[in-house]
Amino acid sequence: MQTRTEGAAAQVPRQKRGVIGRFANMSALRRQQAYYAILFILPGLAVYLIFMVYPFLNTIYLSLTNWNGVAETKDWVGLSNYARMFGDGAVLKSFYNNVIWVILGTILPVVIGLFLALILWSGARASLLFRTLFFLPFILPLVVVGIVWQWLYNPLFGPVNKILDSVGLDQLSRGWLGDSNTALYAVLVAGIWGTFGFVVVVLLAALQNVDVSTVEAAMLDGANWFQRARHIIIPQIGPQLTMVTSITLIGDFSVFDLIFVMTGGGPGHASEVLATYTYKAAFVQNQAGYGSALAVLITVLSFVSAVVFVRLRERQR
């Protein structure tokens, strides 16, 4: 085994590490390095394989069974869990909600964040203070964000309804989280509150590298603020803009904490998303098999959105 290992390593030319070649005892060093490499990698690899890779493969396997989490045997049911998803109204509703969340929950923080970053960059006083302030919600635990927004939406005493009443829009006030027309959007607002600051910080950093002379030239040509932003500044921060968009986009398909804390997916399935429904299927209704199929769906959707995104980025380069 050892000689084979050494032989395989020797066959691979490594020009980058040519310095090592100066040593006369190269093969001995390599053998020693391979031994150390195994020693260094193995503990981490073991933990990772046992608690990530194995359960991941197991999810795929369970999705093909009708296991209920308790029974000794796991009956193979083929793709019937997947077929069932398409006839399940709650899954369709969850998927629809997820798509809304992905679209609005990505676009709005990015647009708001970009706008604020541009304002701060154009030389506002105390811009560091504003930057830190805007970033604060992003570092808060989502449980805390959910709890405080529940207070804000409180039907009787909540400041949201109080403000609406005081400006004469009392016909708009309602139990925002209990009304099936508004529940999802009310949670979404809390989600946007928690993410836009991240966009501000990343884009403000990117803006520091914008070539000011190009902006100056556009200004002399009579371009207004929006024209300058759209045609001169934004193209120069393209990669970072794509990056923040991708981070929010990919995370949005597995949104869970905020919805779980604020509405639990309710009322009914009004604010249900795939992650909360998967949780319920697997741990409330004990359908480990069906829940696993839903988990595979989330994985595929996240993966597809990541791939689409990487493609978009490549086109930019």
Partner: protein, 293 residues
């Protein structure tokens, strides 16, 4: 300073004059967003200081009464003291685990020659694309069968493995790219001086990678401290409950002690905010570096 004023002239205002109008609009927008961010934060602080009677009378008006005993009550009666220590233990052990294992593996993958190392690296990277929900269900039964369910290890081990997104896959990725950028000559110099491979790593390379380790540590701290769903699923008992789930159970429970929920929120948030103000730079660098795959 000079550059700032030059920039201001170029990027604000309109070409035809009236720059003050643009300036007023600018601060109006900033002010509105600052208020939108600040109000909920102040609401937590103010509610955590309120008298219970005052909470029922003026639930969401700011600073109508001030008393500090709510924190004491939340800490003892609300059980947040216990949750706090559990969260510290889980976070610290997870941190040590992720940092140790990913510096070792990242260094080996960057510097040692091992057949199949690219396959091992790719396997680790795959973890960055696996959302928690795709391991959540079997992991529950796996932890149950190992007898770990309800113990701190039920959160720590999956967190180290990367179930909450900031474990070994991210750590190995970050540390490997960090070690690739360090000059090999330093290691060779140490080898010439007779240092063994472990000493090269421990004495030479690890200290040089301190900035990278700091970035990783800050990310892992935030993610583990704030994590909700791992504790929700794998700590069904109350004994080892963490702050996120403890707070959720308390706030959604039958007793509506809003002022104690607020005090509990603050107990959870305060270390995060302090940590953030201390390590802002590392945090932002890590978030952006992790995304540039």
């Amino acid at each position: 300073m000079r550059r700032g004023s030059q920039q201001q002239r170029i990027t604000s205002g309109t070409p035809n004059g009236t720059p003050w109008l643009g300036s007023v609009a600018k601060y109006l927008v900033l002010g509105i967003f600052a208020a939108l961010v600040l109000y909920p934060l102040l609401l937590i602080v103010s509610t955590s200081l309120k008298d219970p009677l005052d909470v029922t009378a003026n639930p969401f008006s700011l600073f109508t009464s001030v008393r500090f005993t709510n924190y004491l009550d939340a800490w003892t009666l609300g059980g947040f003291g216990g949750y706090f220590w559990n969260t510290i233990v889980v976070t610290v052990v997870t941190l040590i685990g992720v940092l140790t294992l990913s510096t070792l593996a990242g260094y080996a993958l960057a510097r040692f020659h091992l057949p199949g190392e690219s396959i091992i690296f790719f396997t680790f990277i795959l973890g960055l694309m696996i959302p928690f929900f795709s391991v959540m269900i079997p992991l529950f039964y796996e932890l149950r069968d190992l007898g770990l369910l309800g113990s701190k290890a039920a959160v720590i081990l999956p967190a180290i493995a990367g179930a909450h997104g900031f474990g070994l896959p991210l750590g190995v990725f970050l540390m490997r790219s960090f070690y690739m950028d360090l000059p090999e000559e330093l290691a060779d110099a140490a080898r010439v001086d007779g240092a063994g491979e472990f000493a090269v790593f421990w004495r030479v390379m690890l200290p040089l990678s301190a900035p990278g380790v700091a970035v990783l540590a800050v990310l892992v701290f935030f993610q583990t401290w704030n994590n909700f769903v791992l504790a929700l699923l794998y700590l069904p008992g109350t004994e080892n409950q963490m702050l996120a789930t403890g707070l959720y159970l308390f706030a959604s429970g039958r007793t509506q002690d809003t002022e104690l929920a607020a005090a509990g929120s603050l107990i959870m948030v305060l270390p995060v905010v302090i940590f953030f103000l201390m390590f802002q730079r590392q945090f932002i660098r890590g978030l952006t570096a992790g995304a540039f795959m």
